[in-house]
Amino acid sequence: MKIQVNEQALILPNSMNLEQLLVHLEKPLIGSAVAVNMQVISRSEWTQYNINEGDNISLFQAIAGG
């Protein structure tokens, strides 16, 4: 399945939900936020959102700032 993650093309080996994607990419679950096609997906819905072919996924991370 071909998707975009932060403007990079990615081929997923199998179907997965958003939480599984973060684990697959070795990104932390805590401090992360996810948008699919520019819609913010609530953390509680990560396991229910199954990624679709062509989804444009944006991953964000909390960092230091003033």
């Binding site: 993650v5 932060n6 990079q8 990419l25 070795e26 990104k27 932390p28 805590i30 401090g31 992360s32 936020a33 996810v34 948008a35 520019m38 913010v40 997906i41 609530s42 953390r43 944006s58 991953l59 964000f60 991370q61 909390a62 960092i63 230091a64 700032g65 003033g66």
Partner: protein, 266 residues
């Protein structure tokens, strides 16, 4: 009421949270994470700001969050990087998911040279975010009229600037901060530009409810010692405000009795 009692009961309330410390701090610009955590702990700050960025797919980022949560700090995500109201609302919604808080420091500064906040977009975003249930703390210029509009829009506090972000220039907006403080029905947090503890003390003496300091602590020779210095200054300034400062006068007002005893003895 005794002054000590008054001091003990002096708590800052924003939204649903009570604060003992009136020094809020930022987490940016520290040389390393260990120094950052030690400095924030030494400051006794109970609210610390954070930012959000797109994940770099090539690199692993440091886990900045765990030590802050472990030390019981309340997190205040900002919308830095947003250039308009739409982007700021998007950033706030992301931050709410990332940090599991509906608090947001709303900042929209499209011009990278001076990082001055866009008042029109900030007001638009503040209205939208307050309607969505966010606790909104907007970073704004020291504009008393704008601050009243933001209060009406449902902001939980206002954060007028002393000087441009990271400039360390101190309070260049004093006359207007005084008006904001006089008129506000929500807490006033002086944010940006405070470069030394004396600047923070001055803001507190003027009656500000809190200050937010990042750069001046993070880039100090010894950030841990500097954060303590800021904490002391904020406490001193607040105590001076509560104690009631004496009035100013152009002419001298003698502190010793001007009796003519020298002449009398001649």
């Amino acid at each position: 009421m005794l002054f000590e009692e008054m001091k003990q009961q002096d708590q800052l309330i924003i939204g649903d949270k009570h604060f003992h410390s009136r020094l809020f701090t930022g987490t940016g610009k520290f040389n390393d994470q260990q120094t950052m955590v030690a400095a924030l702990k030494a400051s006794k700050s109970e609210l610390v700001t954070m930012a959000l960025k797109r994940v770099d797919m090539q690199h692993k980022d440091d886990d900045i969050l765990a030590p802050l949560i472990k030390n019981g700090m309340n997190l205040l995500p900002n919308t830095s990087g947003a250039r308009n109201a739409k982007e700021a609302v998007f950033a706030a919604e992301l931050a709410r998911e990332a940090l599991q808080t509906n608090w947001v420091k709303l900042e929209i500064h499209p011009d990278p040279k001076y990082l001055l906040p866009d008042p029109i977009e900030t007001l638009k975003a503040a209205e939208a975010l307050a309607n969505k249930g966010f606790i909104v703390l907007p970073y704004v210029h020291a504009d008393p009229v704008l601050c009243k509009h933001l209060e009406t829009a449902g902001c939980a506090a206002v954060m007028p600037l002393g000087a441009p972000i990271g400039s360390n220039k101190g309070i260049k907006t004093a006359e207007f901060l005084e008006i904001i403080i006089e008129q506000a029905n929500v807490p006033v947090i002086v944010d940006a530009g405070l470069g030394s503890p004396s600047h923070a003390a001055l803001a507190m003496e003027m009656g500000a409810d809190a200050v937010l300091v990042n750069t001046a602590i993070a880039v100090a020779g010894n950030p841990i010692a500097m954060s303590q210095a800021f904490a002391n200054a904020v406490q001193a300034g607040r105590q001076a405000y509560l104690a009631g400062l004496g009035g100013q006068s152009t002419e001298a007002v003698a502190s010793s009795p001007l009796t003519a005893f020298l002449e009398a003895s001649l």
